[in-house]
Amino acid sequence: MGPLYPQGLISEPLNLLIALFIGIGFGIGLEAGGFTNTRKLAGVFYGYDFVVLKVFFTAAMTAAIGLFLLDSYGLMDIELTFYPKTFWIPTTIAGIVMGLGFIVGGFCPGTSVCAAVTGKIDGIYFVTGAFLGIFGYAFTYEPLFETLRNSGGLGKVNIASELGISDEMFIFIVTVIAVIAFIVTDRIQKKVNSKNPVENIEELGL
């Protein structure tokens, strides 16, 4: 069966329609999880609410395990899925910039759109800022950013093959790390909240 669109099994309009529904589900999930609230999102950095970490780790591991299981059972061909080439220098710099933006603004790109759409003013400002940044980058790409963006190219890097372990082993290790992270962050969360209680976001009616 495999990935449907790259193999031409579904047409482009259908592909986009499915993408639309996936996006709707994503938005519902974010909003229902309270991810349009900046205080909840920034909690990761201050230690009083680790929901962001839990959700993203869970999502990533579910996707990884699910994909590889489907591949093992012949329902998917994982060789046909895409992952971008690694350019470690611009990626590291961008990560730092995004991290700063996240702490300062309280959103990451996806959640900001969610918040903007639900009417949160800070969300709207964030999205505007993001667009300014995107257009600014696009128009100044050639003179300013091209060399940076193409530096540090390593081609398509698969961590499991780089480390010489099988894909399954790698996923298992990351799952274990995720589980440990859950337990540790729970402890941190309890400790931070007992020392410096932040009212439960939901009770604040935000």
């Binding site: 839990k54 869970t58 395990i65 699910g66 093992s72 060789e79 099988s166 399954e168 298992f172 589980v179």
Partner: protein, 207 residues
Amino acid sequence: MRTTDKIVIIGLLLGSVWLFFAGKNAGDKREIPPKKLHELMLQKHRDISADELTRRIINGDPMLQIVDVRNEKQYNSYTLPGAINIPLEDIMKTDNLAYFDQDVLNTVIFSNGTSDAQIAWNILTRLGYKNLTILRGGLNNWFETIILAKPPTGPYDKESDDLYQFRNGARVYFGVGASSETESAPKPKVRIPIIKRKKKEVEGGCS
């Protein structure tokens, strides 16, 4: 919230362990599923007739690649023009597999009969290689059909007669005179096929 957390954690751990049991080894990743393989096996167009192959050899088809899966001794004694030798027992060596790792040439696999060629075809198709055909009847049948071509019996039938004329002409190509003519065999021009590497680099990714 603790219970959902626990369920999620257990679920993820079980899932990642399950991977080990469901997992096929890395080599399998390229194999086509048994069902698809068996469908392909039962299709008739994985065969090529002796006449068709002869036609392609004589025309110097640049897309043709012929593989002889018999042992070296038989290959050295006689083989089809332009054929490369990959004995059946060596068919899975990485060096040899490289000949099939392309989708530009049309490969014809042959042996004396068909059994060995069938095995080779089956294994290679299973591993995901494409454009493979088997010489129907093998070298034995080819020899009888072309080199030992017999004139058609019975009432005149244009098709049979044309076929016989073609085979007779082919005999000349392979160095055996047609009837009682004494002209020397034409030296065949063996064109080494140019393997066009079609690398489709699709740009992807962003951000």
